[in-house]
Each structure stands twice: as structure tokens, then as C-alpha cells.
């Protein structure tokens, strides 16, 4: 019942001096930004570089305090570009490294992201999305879906993109992100928004050492002692070599698509109509589904956790016998394109979204759904 959890058990690493910040075996109230920072530390991340931008400032402040105590490196960089390139350096040195920002800052980071994808360096990037384009404003948005899942930087590459919908999930997915990054030697992005970053939720803390996976990094730059020199590079000048490198990357992405797709679903068996949404919006959609259920409608919920790779097949299979699909986003309609691609015109797809940091309520969704269904019934 993944849609349920306001509270979840978070496993704290007993090696950390967390007592000062959190007490074990009880609920704590923590913001999404702080939870992601703590999760990174517990995942063994020992390098942070970032630049101030709202709405992710709690994260950088938490890191400034905690990272040195964990024996890691914290740098407030001179720019978003420097920050992401510092992460490149830390990752090349074999360290688990993270940089975090919000939409305009993430645009600046695309250079480093493309280079890291090309040089196959693992890292985690958190985007606490705000509304755009341009400077936009600092309120919540999901307008960076295309940038995160369809490229962003130059060249043929993909990020693994994870979208949490609760503070507890933000914690868990951040920890997972480091494992996926190391496993596939690829940047992983946590795509969340100002809501989740700023919102505090109770999460349950349990004292137990998490299962940190140890990945061998024999490619890292540590000094060429008793081995041949290592080179970190995304440059392939000789004819044909770059294409071979690209093919290797594509093989990797294929394997990610095969093994790493994650999604949540609820009440899909009985439902005639399915709501598709991700992140914070899936919780608003769930509330709307509850209201409609009381009025006699049967709504199922589907929420991709990996936005890339997107669960195309799973969505199609799970909605095969349904009547319609509704997609809700805080954007002009970005993920809806992936939903339409998945369903391939087998079902009517209705989209409802808001932009510019404006948010719909569950009642807005109910109104929209009723209107569309009445219209569909008449035609």
C-alpha cells in the first residue's frame, strides 16, 4: 500500500552521530530537503557541492552542518556549474558525491551531467523543482520532466530519474539513487518539487545499519600505484570509437530499462478508470479518488517511481481493460506524452495540469473528471 504511507520506517546508520539530530525508535518531523540530505549521508555520500537556490536551501544547510561531522567534504561552490564539475572530480576520485539545486540551477548543471554520463561517472543530483521557464518563481512545479527524462544536456544519454511522493520515499529513493549510480556508473536524478522539499512529515526512525552496497571502483583516480594509469574521459576522437562507446552506453540503458523500472499502483484490479501521476501530485490524485469512490466510482491509481526508465509496458498491461486514463501534472503536460506513448491510442487519455506554481486541489480533480466523463458519456 505505497500510497498510504505518511510514516515509514527509516533505517539509521548506527555509525553516525545522529542522536543529536534524531532519536532512535520514534517518530521525527523532518522536511523533504533534510531527509534527502540525511539519506545521502547514510548512503555513504562523502562529497557535497552546491550553490544557494530556493527551494532547496534547507538541504545545503543540513549538509554544511553534517557533512564535515561525517568526515566528508562540503563545498559551497561559486556557481552551479562549478558545483557539478566538483562532483565530477569527487566521483572521479571514487567518492559518492551529490549536488542539489532547483530548476534554473539544474539547467546550469547540464554541462557536468552530460560529461559525467559520457565519462560514466556515478553521482546523484537532486532537483527540487520550482516553476519556470526562466527565473519563474519559487513555488512547486513539475515542469522539468522533459529536461530530466529526455536529455537536458547534449548527446545520447539518459539519467535514471526517481520521483518520491512522500518525505519517507524521498529518504529511501535517495539511498537507492547512490546504489543505482554506482551499479550502472551513471548519474541518477531525484526529481522532486518545492512541496516535498519544504514540507515536513513524520517519519519513523529505527536504529539499524542499512545495507550499504560496496561497489568496486577500480576505475577511480587514486594514483597509479601498482597499476596502470587510469583515465577519466568522455572524449573519443578516433573514427568509429565514439559510436562504439555510445553503443556501450545504450546497452547499459537497455539493461536499466529491463531491471530497474519501479512504480506504485493501487486498486487497479477493480477500477474502470485510472489516474496516472507522480510525486506529490499522486497524493492529491489519491484524495480525489477517495472522494469519487464515496460517490460510487471505482478509480485505480498508477504512479511511476522511475520516470526514466518509464514503466510503459506495465502501464499498458495494468490498464488494458479500463475505460479511460486521467493524467495530472503540475505542468503543461509532459509525462502525459509518455502515458500516451505507452497506451498507443488504446484508451482515451485526459490531461489536467496547472503551471506557474499554481496547484490544483482534489476537488479540482473531481470536477475535471466528472466533466470529462459526462461529456464522454454524451458523445
Amino acid at each position: 500500500m505505497l500510497y498510504k504511507g505518511l510514516t515509514k520506517i527509516i533505517i539509521l546508520d548506527s555509525r553516525f552521530p545522529y542522536k543529536k539530530y534524531m532519536s532512535a525508535n520514534k517518530k521525527v518531523l523532518i522536511t523533504g530537503n533534510e531527509a534527502m540530505a540525511e539519506a545521502a549521508l547514510q548512503a555513504g555520500c562523502r562529497f557535497f557541492a552546491g550553490y544557494p537556490i530556493t527551494p532547496q536551501n534547507e538541504l545545503i544547510a543540513y549538509m554544511a552542518k553534517r557533512m564535515p561531522k561525517a568526515g566528508g567534504v562540503f563545498i559551497q561552490a561559486e556557481s552551479e556549474i562549478a558545483a557539478v564539475n566538483m562532483v565530477f572530480g569527487a566521483s572521479a576520485a571514487g567518492f559518492r558525491a551529490i549536488t542539489t539545486s532547483s530548476s534554473p540551477g539544474i539547467s546550469l548543471k547540464q554541462e557536468g551531467i552530460s560529461y559525467m554520463a559520457g565519462a560514466q561517472l556515478p553521482c546523484v543530483i537532486i532537483n527540487v523543482m520550482r516553476a519556470g521557464p526562466g527565473l519563474g518563481n519559487i513555488t512547486p512545479s513539475q515542469g522539468d520532466y522533459f529536461q530530466a527524462t529526455k536529455g537536458g544536456g547534449h548527446g545520447d544519454y539518459n539519467l535514471i530519474v526517481l520521483a518520491p511522493s512522500t518525505v519517507a520515499e524521498a529518504f529511501e529513493l535517495t539511498m537507492l539513487a547512490f546504489d543505482l549510480a554506482d551499479k550502472y556508473r551513471n548519474p541518477v536524478m531525484i526529481l522532486t518539487d518545492a512541496f516535498l522539499g519544504q514540507m515536513a512529515e513524520p517519519i519513523e526512525i529505527k536504529r539499524q545499519r542499512p545495507k550499504n552496497k560496496n561497489f568496486k571502483k577500480d576505475w577511480a583516480l587514486t594514483g597509479a600505484k601498482n597499476r596502470k594509469p587510469n583515465v577519466i574521459s568522455s572524449l573519443f576522437i578516433k573514427e568509429g570509437v565514439l559510436e562504439e562507446h555510445n553503443k556501450k552506453l545504450q546497452e547499459k540503458y537497455k539493461s536499466v530499462r529491463k531491471k530497474e523500472i519501479r512504480y506504485k499502483s493501487l486498486n487497479l484490479k477493480e477500477a474502470d478508470i485510472v489516474f496516472v501521476s507522480y510525486g506529490i501530485v499522486s497524493r492529491i490524485a489519491q484524495e480525489a479518488a477517495n472522494i469519487l469512490k464515496r460517490e460510487g466510482m471505482n478509480i485505480g491509481l498508477f504512479s511511476p517511481v522511475t520516470l526514466w526508465p518509464f514503466p510503459y509496458k506495465q502501464l499498458k498491461q495494468l490498464t488494458a481493460d479500463k475505460k479511460a486514463v486521467f493524467v495530472f501534472e503540475l505542468s503543461s503536460g509532459q509525462m502525459v506524452q509518455d502515458v500516451e506513448f505507452a497506451l498507443d491510442r488504446t484508451l482515451p487519455v485526459y490531461f489536467y495540469g496547472r503551471m506557474g506554481g499554481e496547484v490544483f486541489s482534489e476537488k479540482d480533480i473531481v470536477k475535471f473528471v466528472k466533466k470529462k466523463l459526462t461529456y464522454a458519456g454524451k458523445s
Binding site: 562523502r46 562529497f47 557541492a49 567534504v73 563545498i75 561552490a77 561559486e78 556557481s79 556549474i81 562549478a82 558545483a83 564539475n85 566538483m86 562532483v87 565530477f88 572530480g89 569527487a90 572521479a92 576520485a93 571514487g94 567518492f95 558525491a97 554541462e111 557536468g112 560529461y115 565519462a119 583516480l221 587514486t222 594514483g223 597509479a224 600505484k225 601498482n226 594509469p229 587510469n230 583515465v231 577519466i232 574521459s233 568522455s234 572524449l235 576522437i237
Partner: protein, 247 residues
């Protein structure tokens, strides 16, 4: 007893036995050799990590026999900062051209210097963008013709003045050592080697940020013979970029 002088000429251990892609008369080959000689002399090959720039020396890792990372254009000192902070026992140096260090990467340069990062920065100044075919660089001299200043660099037309990065960063308290040298004649090459060595020693002694600016001839882009090019360094370049220790 006089000190025994080793007169045997051989390739440094840290320099790979391959021919380079550099143009005839280019200064990179000399500086590559000097850097590797120093890495050998200080016996730090096994803990050295170099950050190669974007520019003519982008594939320096094909010539150096130690760990090397690329960096996006201008970002070498950001990459080096993280590398050194994560692994303080490594000896980390960047090798950057003028476009890389002084134009697109000027922020990274100023801030690494201002933080006093314990790094060694080898800065090659050839007064132009070499790899892209000779455009105006921040260090292009006034009046110097390039593909983007076809009538010569003219500050009155908005081309700006030659940027003196060494003088600029020497003012920063985090910077411990700045020297400008050239590889235009054997005497200057010896001075250059001494300066590079000092910059590495500073890092080994945790002294902070060291930068060695090396005026380097670029005959092909300057449309000169190698002989004319070294003369131009000595007669023209040093007027704008005087040699010597700045800090």
C-alpha cells in the same frame, strides 16, 4: 667534491614513449616534458593526478603516464578542487590554456585561487585559441590579428584588453606562489622547470594555491616559423606579460 652531474639524456619515466599531435615548434611538448621530469624527480608519479583541459592539450593523458581526468572547458580547477579535497594525499595539478583558464573558466580559476586550494596550476599562455584555429583569446595582444580580430585586437572596438590573470590572482590571500616564465630559449626553459618544481613543492608542503604562467609559442596559428615565434615571444609577448615572480 663537486656535485655529480647526471648528463645522461633519457625520457622521463612519467612521459610515454609516443609521438605527440602537437604542431611543429609548439611549446606544449617542452612543458609536458618539464612536468614529467619534475614528477619523476619528486618521486610522486604514483600519487599524481592531472586534470587535462579542453584545448590543444585535451589528450595529455595519451602522453603522461599517471592518472589523468578530463574536465569540461574551463572547469579543471573545480574538478581538481574536489579531487584534492577528497584525497588530500594525492598531488593534483591542472594544465590549462588561456581560453580555458582565463575566459570560460575564469570564475573557477579565481575561486579556486581565492579558496586557497592546495593545488598546482600550469597555465599555458599562447595568446590565442590554438585548437579551434586561432581566435582571439583573453590574452591576445593589442593589435594581434586572429580569425575573430581580423584587423587586430582593438580595445576601442570593444575587444577588451589582454587579461593578466597572474597579476589578478596574485592579490588573493589564498594564493602562495605566482610566476610567469617562458619556453622561448634554453635559459627560460630552465627557469620554467624551476618554477614548476616550486609550484609542486608548495603543494607537497600544504602551502596553498600555486600558478605558473608559461608564455608558449604557437607558430602555426601565429603564421610564423618556429624561429620567428620564439622571437615574437621575447620581443612582443613579454611587453604585455613581463617575466618573473609575481608573488
Amino acid at each position: 667534491m663537486p656535485e655529480k652531474v647526471n648528463l645522461e639524456f633519457k625520457k622521463p619515466r612519467s612521459l610515454r614513449n609516443v609521438s605527440t599531435h602537437y604542431c611543429p615548434g609548439c611549446g606544449h611538448g617542452i612543458v609536458h616534458r618539464l612536468v614529467t621530469e619534475i614528477v619523476d624527480e619528486l618521486e610522486i608519479r604514483e600519487k599524481t593526478v592531472a586534470i587535462a583541459p579542453v584545448g590543444c592539450s585535451v589528450i595529455a593523458y595519451d602522453y603522461w603516464d599517471f592518472d589523468v581526468s578530463e574536465a569540461a572547458h574551463g572547469r579543471a580547477l573545480a574538478v581538481a578542487t574536489a579531487m584534492k579535497r577528497c584525497r588530500p594525499n594525492l598531488v593534483v595539478f591542472t594544465y590549462q590554456g588561456d581560453g580555458d583558464l582565463a575566459s570560460i573558466g575564469i570564475a573557477e580559476t579565481l575561486y579556486a585561487a581565492n579558496r586557497g586550494e592546495n593545488l598546482t596550476c600550469i597555465f599555458i599562455n599562447n595568446a590565442c585559441y590554438g585548437m579551434t584555429g586561432g581566435q582571439m583569446a583573453p590574452t591576445t595582444l593589442i593589435g594581434q590579428k586572429t580569425t575573430t580580430t581580423p584587423w587586430g585586437r582593438d580595445p576601442a572596438k570593444g575587444d577588451g584588453f589582454p587579461l593578466k590573470v597572474s597579476e589578478l590572482i596574485a592579490n588573493l590571500p589564498g594564493v602562495c606562489y605566482v610566476e610567469r616564465v617562458s619556453v622561448s630559449n634554453p635559459q627560460n626553459v630552465i627557469k620554467t622547470k624551476k618554477a614548476i618544481k616550486q609550484a609542486f613543492l608548495n603543494q607537497l608542503e600544504d602551502k596553498g594555491f600555486s600558478l605558473v604562467e608559461i608564455l608558449s609559442q604557437c607558430p602555426v596559428i601565429w603564421r610564423m616559423t618556429p624561429q620567428e615565434a620564439v622571437k615574437w615571444v621575447e620581443s612582443e609577448m613579454i611587453k604585455t606579460f613581463p617575466l618573473g615572480r609575481i608573488k
